[in-house]
């Protein structure tokens, strides 16, 4: 059974903290994604990685950075957490090719206080 695992289901952090969200996939997929999901706004792409050490900005990269040192792991970093980054964060992975399915993790609900 394919799996995308996010390290935490719930996180509470203080304003100004550096926050790491981890995601691991076991499908040897080239592509990994970080989205944030907010009511009424759907899924917005933060960053996308198409290979180890390769990344591309999505629609809302401000305030975030990413790291992909190994193929199976994709980390999202909030350099200095702010309250407007309170959200549900979803990680996904996908094989190469336009018609391939993306597989999602369960999500991390981050609250910044």
């Amino acid at each position: 059974d394919v799996k995308v695992t996010q390290s935490s289901r719930y996180l509470v952090k203080r304003t100004g903290e550096k926050v790491f969200l981890e995601c691991v996939q076991d499908m040897d997929h080239e592509n990994m994604f970080w989205y944030r999901q907010d009511p009424g706004l759907g899924l917005r792409l933060i960053y996308f990685s198409y290979d180890v050490k390769m990344k591309e900005k999505g629609d809302i990269p401000e305030g975030y950075s990413v790291s992909r040192e190994k193929k199976e792991r994709f980390s999202l970093i909030l350099e200095s957490a702010s309250t407007n980054q309170t959200s549900m964060y979803l990680c996904a992975s996908r094989g190469g090719g336009a018609g391939t399915e993306a597989f999602f993790g369960q999500g991390t609900r981050l609250t910044v206080v």
Binding site: V4, E30, N31, F33, Y35, G40, L41, G42, L43, R44, L45, F48, Y50, E56, D59, L90, A92, R94, G96, G97, A98, G99, T100, E101, A102, F104, G105, Q106, G107
Partner: protein
């Protein structure tokens, strides 16, 4: 800006009613289209996809979608909904020029009452 639009934000139906959820995209060129579903408390999962060929695509749980290139649309349909179809539905497009980047719409929340 290039985007994916879902105009129905919240749909409420009774069981056995027919369903159609709209999805429009603004990308030119060849696109690949997807519908994902998120049941309460669960992760997103693929419902169906259009890659090429027959524009009428059938998916799981009796869902289907029709790709109409001239209208830039990929609407999701089901002839008779069930209470278990209560979920949030997301349309997604594979961005042309970058075949691996997936862009999602804003989602439609469907509530089905018995």
């Amino acid at each position: 800006a290039q985007s994916v639009s879902q105009h129905n934000h919240h749909v409420i139906l009774s069981e056995a009613a027919s369903l159609e959820l709209g999805c429009n995209y603004s990308y030119g060129g060849t696109v690949n289209l997807f519908w994902y579903v998120q049941y309460p408390g669960q992760h997103l999962q693929l419902l169906l996809k259009y890659f090429s060929g027959d524009p009428l695509v059938k998916g799981i749980k009796g869902f289907e979608a029709e790709f109409i290139k001239s209208k830039f649309s990929f609407n999701l349909r089901k002839p008779s909904v069930q209470w278990s179809d209560t979920a949030e539905y997301f349309c997604a497009v594979n961005a042309p020029g970058n075949t691996d980047k997936l862009i999602f719409g804003t989602g439609t929340r469907l509530q089905v009452f018995p």
